[in-house]
Amino acid sequence: MRNRAAVHAWLMLLPALVLLVGFTHWPAVSTLFDSFHSTPRGGRPAVWVGLENYQVMASDPVFWKAVRNNLIFASATIPASIGLALLMALWVNERIAGRAFLRMAYFTPTVLPMIAVANIWLFFYTPQYGLLEQITGALGLPSHNWLGSPSTALGAVTVVAIWKEAGFFMIFYLAALQTLNPSLREAAAIEGASRWYFFRRVQWPLLMPTTLFVLVNAFINAFRMVDHLFVMTRGGPDNASILLLYHLYEVGFSFWDTAYASAITVVLVVVLAGIALFQFFVLDKRVHYK
């Protein structure tokens, strides 16, 4: 009886597990394997090259540029989108005029494909014709090619990412705010606590699990979100806006250096696994108000 149940269970698991192993575990392991081999070209099969791909990586200026850019991108999008999300949620949670419209306005970018978003913003940023130029022109500011100059390209694509993400994170804050006990607010009112004090001492600590959940997601997205680069800058000008995953795409599918691309994949997997393990072992243990 017991054995039959186990067989049943495994049969139910089997299709999902086979696919998971085939398209997650196996590729993860063979990525590592391939990163120690050369790229097979023409008739030459892959041979063991040890750490050569990683040495290439260490001396690849574009890789380091991508790492640097990705860190900047992460450190700008994460706090900005979370901060805005919190602000939006706090507003929309109250009886504010036009609440439904506000909520819709904040959330709409989330349902759009990133490619569509990038098209819209590309037009927004276009020199001379774009809306941004028209606004700055009307204010008497000089014309500027936002996506075309190395100094502003990364900033311009970062803004797009924040615009896309903030409304998404707002939803989680909103959900959490709605579960807070209304008597907390009444108590604060009776005590005469200021609004800021109420937020800092009551709402913010109670929102901590949400903040951490959102934080982990924002971190992952900072390393995964590259679709807009394909439309807006192609990583340029002169790699000014290149991010890791985009570099991986270029190496793997423009230059077809799959061995080196595997090495870059390993780096990305390590980053993502690191985030996940940090969440699992540090955050989940520390913060629980539930």
Binding site: A5, D34, T110, V111, E186, S262
Partner: protein
């Protein structure tokens, strides 16, 4: 009595909040409104804001004719439905096994499932491409969908839901002589309906919008989904006609956008439900 109005006013947004909230909202919709303006007006008005400018859907007609958008729409629809259907079936079976069976290797198997939550198929594109090439599936819809068929997220979400369903219901049905599959289908699935809706909305919007993997694994209009089609269409550098590109952009996002505007509440609740776990 006196404290009553004060309590109502307490922590209510001030006019300053309202102003700031509206400014941010307007800033947020500005790029969208601009895109709509451009798409619905003739090209010469795309940067001239004149309320008397003639409205029309000419840009949409021309965009539709300029690229195989009908095919792209078909591909994306088939893709999204296929992925969702397989995810739900496989996810339900696996979740039921994890939630209601004790068997050797359960914890290891569950840990293996959770791995996908951190290492998503989006990152493993190089190896997955090789696999698709080996299977001869490059440039097919099946290749786009395969890495996503087994969704750790679906399994996890449904397992949590199934665990919350009282075991007595299960046992009562078994006493009546129902088989495991009948119990799953008659008891668990109906009770988990809101979670299925939530997962469906999240999955559909994710795969409708997914780009990188479909871009890599397709190379002809035969299997290209909308996002890739749109990118190919708008990156052709022959005299960029912004009004047409914008029309195409809006066209490709329209189904999700309309669905969102119609079912806002469900969308928002689904994303909440899926996120909270």
């Amino acid at each position: 009595m006196k404290s009553e109005p004060r309590r109502l006013v307490y922590n209510e947004p001030t006019w300053l909040d309202t102003l700031a909230a509206w400014l941010l909202a307007l800033l947020w919709v500005l790029p969208l409104v601009y895109a709509f303006w451009t798409a619905f007006h003739p090209a010469e008005y795309s940067t001239r804001f004149d309320l008397t400018a003639p409205l029309g859907i000419d840009n949409f007609r021309r965009a539709w004719a300029a690229a195989p958008f009908a095919r792209y729409f078909f591909n994306t629809t088939v893709l999204v439905v296929m992925i969702l259907a397989v995810q739900l079936v496989l996810g339900t079976l696996a979740a039921y096994a994890f939630a209601r069976y004790r068997f050797p290797g359960r914890n290891v198997a569950f840990a293996l499932v959770l791995v996908q939550l951190m290492i998503m198929p989006d990152i493993l594109v190089v190896e997955n491409y090789k696999t698709m090439a080996r299977l001869g599936l490059v440039d097919t819809l099946l290749a786009i969908g395969l890495p996503y068929f087994a969704s750790a997220f679906a399994i996890f979400l449904l397992r949590q839901t199934f665990l919350g369903i009282p075991k007595e219901l299960d046992e009562a049905a078994r006493v009546e002589g129902a088989s495991a599959m009948q119990v799953l289908w008659r008891v668990y699935v109906p009770l988990a309906k809101p979670v299925y809706t939530a997962f469906a909305l999240v999955s559909v919007s994710f795969h409708w919008n997914n780009f990188l993997w479909p871009l890599i694994v397709t190379n002809s209009p035969n299997a290209r989904p909308l996002t890739v089609g749109l990118q190919v269409f708008s990156s052709v550098d022959q005299g960029v006609d912004w009004s047409i590109i914008t029309a195409a952009t809006i066209m490709t996002s329209a189904p999700l956008l309309v669905a969102f505007l119609l079912f806002q509440r469900q969308f928002v609740q689904s994303f909440m439900r899926a996120g909270i776990k």
